[in-house]
């Protein structure tokens, strides 16, 4: 049975982070139109999942915005509707993203009741000043408390996000933060460098030179500390920005990197799937504006803004680019799914691959036909990819 994933974008937030480039809106003064939004999501869900009845739903991911602001019963409706169209696997992973503010933390039990199996909390940093500067309305202590509570309800299924590279952050501060959160960590952590995205308030701040971010070399040191410290605590650095106790990797995200098909619903959500009627690989995205998206769903059954066909060449490239973000890399077997049988060694510039192997950046196992990065290679993987991919 072909595995499938569902992504649900819930676009409202009570506070807006200065670095966030996702499509979102502040909760309106008169409150969120829960029923309207849910109804639109359900409409879009039905339209988009119907063609994939023959598949099995491996994961659902509620992202946004702040999905933990949604009503648990709406979440339940969506999970039920999904299951009725594409049956959930017995070990399906259903993740909900949450912020550490108390109102949301209190709803955990209800979300569990609604069907959520995994919790992901946005801690980002323990430094209260940085949190405030970034527009986040919670403290570091609240972040840790949220993780502790979640672990009680979702043992072994809690993850949280940490960001390094804030203005003024020293290596020492970062290491101390990491040490503290690792004491509270469950089975999964995501660690990213603060990225300045066009269109965000942080972007404007940087351009106006109101903010100065750490140098390339300092952020390299911070990244390396994360690898070292998380690995020492028993987490496997299974993807560039993700660490897990073996067996607790994020099933949903692995799907992205391993080329699994998925449908995204909600404003700005992306989808990537093979259209059963044409057998073409499609990449599509929903309208970003919440109101317009909702209107389209009401009128047409879905709010798709753009849909393009992914060529075989593109698919092959993607398979390698994303495969090599994982420490397990990519094998011919998985590559065959998009290459129509072409092997990795015929597709890639193997002379260059060999050079990187010799220099300690890549590992090539010809018996298994598996190409994977070393830790050192992972750190500079973007440079390597440009070189080895045709």
């Amino acid at each position: 049975m072909v595995p499938f994933s569902l992504y649900v974008h819930w676009p409202y937030c009570t506070f807006l982070c200065r670095f966030c480039a996702f499509s979102k809106a502040r909760v309106p003064a008169k409150g969120v139109e829960h029923e309207r939004i849910t109804s639109a999501l359900l409409k879009e869900l039905r339209t988009s999942l119907a063609p994939h009845k023959d598949k099995v739903l491996q994961s659902i991911y509620f992202g946004g915005g702040t999905p933990s602001l949604a009503q648990p019963r709406n979440i339940a409706q969506i999970i039920e509707a999904a299951n009725s169209l594409v049956p959930l696997a017995s070990d399906a992973e259903i993740t909900l993203e949450s912020n550490p503010t108390s109102a949301e933390v209190g709803k955990m039990r209800d979300f569990k009741q609604a069907g959520v199996t995994r919790y992901s909390i946005g801690i980002q940093t323990l430094d209260d000043r940085t949190l405030a500067r970034m527009g986040r309305l919670h403290t570091g202590a609240e972040g840790l408390a949220a993780v502790d509570r979640a672990r009680a309800l979702f043992p072994g299924k809690v993850s949280f996000d940490m960001i390094f590279g804030f203005e003024g952050q020293t290596l020492d501060q970062w290491q101390k933060e990491l040490e503290t959160v690792l004491k509270h960590a469950d089975n999964h952590i995501s660690v990213y460098q603060l990225t300045v995205e066009p269109g965000t308030p942080l972007f404007r701040d940087r351009n106006a030179q109101r903010v100065v971010l750490p140098s390339g070399d300092l952020s390299a040191q911070m990244y390396e500390s994360a690898v070292e410290m998380c690995t020492a605590k028993g987490f496997r650095h299974y993807e560039v920005a993700n660490y897990a106790v073996p067996g607790s990797e994020s099933m949903h995200n692995m799907g992205y990197w391993q080329g699994r098909q998925w449908v995204g619903i909600g404003p700005s959500a992306h989808s990537r799937f093979i259209d059963p009627s044409s057998n073409q690989r499609i990449s599509s995205v929903r309208l970003p504006d919440i109101q317009r998206w909702a209107q389209h769903c009401e009128k047409f059954g879905h709010g798709t803004a753009k849909s393009t066909v992914i060529s075989d060449e593109d698919a092959k490239q993607e398979a390698v680019v994303f495969g090599l973000r994982m420490l397990d890399g990519i094998t011919d077997r998985r590559f065959a799914g998009v290459s129509g049988g072409q092997s990795l060694k015929d597709y890639l510039h193997m002379d260059r691959v060999q050079q990187y192997v010799d220099d300690g950046y890549l590992l090539w196992n010809s018996a298994d036909a598996k190409l994977a990065p070393t830790e050192r290679g992972l750190e500079v993987i973007d440079s390597i990819l440009i070189d080895i991919v045709p």
Binding site: S268, F322, D359, E379, S383, L385, V389
Partner: protein, 618 residues
């Protein structure tokens, strides 16, 4: 180039009614921007050759690059008919290139004329090129008729300019015409002045056909088109003519005048100037300065020209070695119409197959590069412009150094070389007196030897200085302009070779010399240049997965060192479903960028690296 049309016999004009005394062959010489092209336009309008609409700006500047830079690159001619005092005259305006780099083309065109208008901007007065061109024309025995232009400008000082002309060239100031080519004021007096003050061409219709070939271009339909000045006799379609130089015979397929586009005539006669097509296949067969005669009626050859000497050399290489064949074709096509570019194929250990091209000057080179990139869509690497240094060996032989690779190594230098020599130029600069200090300093800074300076009027100085040519081939002209706030003008001529302490500057990346970045320079500049080069290379070379040590060495001795530290980490941000499309786009864009890099060993060099070596920072 002007398009050749299929001949239409009915449309041929008969110009046999114009004997020499009703013909004037003249050109306009001037300093850049003094209004030569505008005046030419006005005269063409006046005689009805082009219509009086706004679209006719600078008709003769046909090439895009000419219009952009406001300069004439190719000399062309235009024939006009003009009635004066009851008689109809045939006036042939022979255009001349407007830049010192093209003085070769200027002298070729002048040989086809009997007189020239010396056009001087009434606001700017005499400039260096005015002087240079005057002496060129004077040397050819031409009648020089000075005229003042732009008298309409509020800053114009016609009396002063006229006095300058009288003072410098000993021409009666009261005889100088005042005009504004832009507004048309005084322009009607120009042609009458040409008729009155310039002699008609000499020669006899009864003598055997004799013509001077003074320019050519290549047309894809008819082959080579030759511009000729008929010195004796006449010529028409069907005649057989012979080149004195190659002794090759050709049959004339069409003759005509440039009006301003090619217009066929029944014949061309003594004193007239026009074009001839004769199934000549390649411009290499046409030797400018050649004398043509009728088959079986040889004549005494006219004094010819010495081929143009290249002054500035640059290496040209395709960025992508696979593009060599296409670039070869493009360069051949471009040089078809510019025989003053010298072309030598060259192979560089670093950059593969390419060429060493010789130009008349940096402007010539720059115009060529622009045309190659724009008209032929070429992606090229241009390596440092060099001048032809010479090595004198102990056994008396000399050898040119055209590329830094030719520079002898230390052992050869010690054992076999007597001296290294560099070419010098004699430069003429004219500028307002208040910049004298700056100009003197500029010359000394560039190893110049001041010859003399004179006041050409109460406010302006003419400075003559002998400079190493190497010092003027990059940014000398720009510095001259900026230090004089644009007022200084500049011209130069060759002035032989002198012994000079030269060194080869090499760039090493991780201890390997990169041939393509090598250059030859005077020892005195080597330390500063070496340090500067290393610093600037460090800025343009992007971090790679290993440390890159940049070193510059003069004749083997290290003068500077910089390091580009290894890349420790890319920005490996998170990447989930919604990021896929964007990430792939970015990746492919970076791949494209990589294609424009050249790899030397493991080190990737962007095009900027080569430009860094070419130019000097302040």
């Amino acid at each position: 180039m002007p398009q050749m049309r299929v001949i239409d016999r009915k449309k041929e004009t008969d110009i046999s009614t114009y004997p020499p005394d009703l013909i004037r062959n003249f050109s306009i010489i001037a300093h850049i921007d003094h209004g030569k092209s505008t005046l030419a336009d006005r005269l063409l309008e006046l005689t009805g050759v082009i219509s009086k609409t706004g679209k006719n700006k600078q008709v003769l500047d046909k090439l895009k690059v000419e219009r952009e830079r406001g300069i004439t690159v190719k000399a062309q001619s235009a024939s006009m008919f003009y009635e004066y005092n009851g008689k109809k005259y045939l006036m042939n305006l022979i255009d001349t290139p407007g830049h010192v780099d093209f003085s070769y083309e200027v002298s070729r065109s002048l040989a086809a004329c009997q007189g020239t208008i010396l056009l001087v901007d009434a606001a700017q007065g005499i400039q260096a090129q005015t002087v240079a061109n005057f002496y060129l024309a004077f040397g050819e025995g031409l009648a020089v008729v000075p005229m003042l232009n732009k008298v309409d400008l509020p800053t114009a000082e016609p009396e002063r300019a006229a006095q300058q002309i009288e003072g410098t060239f000993e021409i009666d100031a009261s005889k100088i015409l005042h005009m504004s080519a832009k507004t048309g004021l005084g322009v009607d007096a120009v042609l009458p002045s040409v008729i009155e003050n310039m002699p008609p061409p000499l020669g006899s219709i009864d003598q055997p056909f004799k013509a001077l070939l003074f320019d050519t271009w290549y047309d894809k339909y008819v082959g080579v088109v030759c511009l000729m000045a008929i010195k004796d006799g006449s010529i028409k379609k069907g005649d057989r003519i012979v080149s004195t130089h190659s002794k090759q015979k050709y049959e004339v397929t069409e003759v005509g005048i440039m009006h301003p586009e090619p217009s066929p005539t029944t014949s061309l006669q003594v004193g007239q100037v026009g074009y001839i097509t004769c199934n000549m296949k390649s411009v290499s067969e046409a030797h400018v300065g050649d004398t043509f005669y009728r088959d079986k009626h040889p004549v005494e050859a006219l004094p010819g020209f010495v081929p143009a000497k290249s002054m500035v050399f640059a290496g040209v290489f395709p960025i992508d070695a696979d593009e060599f064949a296409r670039l070869d074709e493009s360069i051949q096509k471009l040089t078809l119409n510019d025989s003053s570019v010298s072309v030598h194929k060259e192979t560089s250990a670093a950059l593969g197959q390419g060429w060493r091209l010789g130009f008349l000057g940096t402007l010539h080179m720059d115009v060529f590069r622009q045309r190659l990139e724009e008209e032929y869509d070429a992606s090229i690497l241009i390596t440092a412009p060099t001048v032809p240094y010479q090595i004198k060996y102990r056994d008396g032989t000399t050898r040119f150094i055209r590329t830094p690779a030719d520079f002898p190594d230390i052992h050869t230098m010690q054992d076999n070389v007597e001296s290294t020599m560099e070419p010098f130029v004699l430069a003429t600069m004219i500028f307002p007196e208040r910049y004298l200090g700056q100009m003197l300093e500029l010359c000394t800074l560039h190893r110049g030897e001041i010859q003399n300076h004179v006041y050409i009027d109460e406010a302006r100085v003419l400075l003559k200085c002998r400079l190493p040519m190497a010092e003027i081939v990059s940014d000398f002209f720009d510095k001259l302009k900026s230090k004089s706030q644009g007022f200084a003008s500049f011209d130069y001529e060759e002035s032989g070779y002198e012994a000079s302490d030269l060194v080869k500057m090499e760039v090493l990346l991780n201890n390997e010399a990169v041939d393509a970045l090598a250059s030859v320079m005077h020892r005195s500049t080597s330390v500063v240049a070496g340090r500067d080069m290393a610093k600037r290379l460090r800025e343009v070379i992007r971090r790679q997965l290993f440390d890159i040590i940049i070193q510059t060495a003069a004749n083997g001795k290290i003068v500077a060192r910089e390091t580009v530290k290894q890349l420790r980490k890319n920005v490996t941000a998170k990447c989930y479903g919604g990021d896929i499309t964007r990430k792939m786009k970015l990746l492919n864009k970076q791949k494209e960028g990589k294609k424009r890099m050249k790899k030397f060993g493991k080190v990737e060099l962007p095009q900027e690296a080569f430009l860094t070596v070419m130019t000097k920072s302040e």
